[in-house]
Symmetry: C2
Subunit: 151 residues, 2 copies
C-alpha cells in the first residue's frame, strides 16, 4: 500500500472546506503543519511538519512520522528516544494546510526532546513592556543527554 | 506600551530552550505558528500565524491578533464575525518557533470561519490506499453567509 493524496490545486473553496477529498495543501517546501495532541487528554504535545511521504508513512504504519527541516529528512518520531507516537487519528483543518495528529504517546511519555511531556513548558509573562518566559512546572520524564548523548 | 521581543539570533540552544528570554523565532517571512486552544477544554480551535506586531498587540490588548498571509495584514480575530478570542496566556515551545495561544472563545463560540467551534471538523479515513475526509459532527454555530456576506 502506498497512499497518495489528491492535488489541492483546482479544488474550489467549497470542495476544500466541505468536501470529502483529502487534498493536503503542502506549502512551497512541500510541507503541512502537524500538531500532535495526546488522545487521552487532548494536550498539545508538539508542533512539527509533514511532507507527503511522512504523512503517508504515518497513515500506513500507525506511527507518527514527520519531516525534519533542520536535518532535511523524514523522521520516525521516537526512532532514537523510543518515544514512539501511536496514531489514533488525523484531522484536517478547514483549508487543509494543517493537521491535528491525535496520538498515544508511548515510552516515558515525553514528546519533547528536552524530556518533557510537551514542548510548551513555558508561558509568556509581560511586565513593563518586556516579555519573559516562566516554566509552568512540566517535569522532565527523561534526561536528554542519556537519550541523545552529550551535545 | 509597545512590547518588543529579543532577537533569537545569537542565543544558544540552551538559552532558547531553558532560558527566560522570550525570543520568538520568526521565519523568513517574519511569522511564527500560533495554535489557538480553548482554555476551558484544551481543544485545538485553529492554526494561524503571528508576526511581531500581531504578537505584541495580542499581549497588549488581551485579544488574539494574527497575521493573515492571504490578505497580507494584521487581523484582530473576530473583527468581522464578533468571535473575539480573549487571551488567557501564551506558551512558547522548546525552540520558540511555535506559540500556544490559550483563549476564551467569545461570541457564539465559533473559532472557524465556517461557523464551527474548531477548524478541525473532519478526520482522515484510509481505505485501500485512498484517504478521504469524514465529518466528526461539529455543528455550525453561525451561518458564515450571515456573518461574512455571500461569497
Amino acid at each position: 500500500m502506498s497512499i497518495t493524496f489528491a492535488p489541492a490545486a483546482g479544488l474550489s473553496h467549497e470542495a476544500l472546506e466541505e468536501g470529502a477529498v483529502f487534498a493536503p495543501r503542502f506549502d512551497e517546501k512541500g510541507l503541512v503543519t502537524a500538531i500532535a495532541v495526546e488522545a487521552s487528554s487532548g494536550a498539545v504535545l508538539m508542533v512539527a511538519h509533514m511532507n507527503a511521504e511522512a504523512l503517508a508513512r504515518t497513515l500506513e504504519t500507525g506511527e507518527a512520522h514527520y519531516y525534519s527541516r533542520s536535518r532535511g529528512k523524514i523522521w520516525r518520531k521516537g526512532e532514537t528516544s523510543g518515544e514512539i507516537q501511536k496514531l489514533v487519528e488525523i484531522r484536517a483543518d478547514c483549508d487543509q494546510d494543517a493537521l491535528l495528529v491525535v496520538v498515544e504517546q508511548t515510552g516515558r511519555g515525553g514528546a519533547c526532546h528536552t524530556g518533557r511531556k510537551t514542548c510548551f513548558y513555558r508561558r509568556v509573562e509581560v511586565a513593563e513592556a518586556a516579555a519573559t518566559l516562566v516554566p509552568i512546572g512540566e517535569p522532565r520524564l527523561f534526561d536528554p543527554s542519556d537519550v541523545y548523548g552529550a551535545s
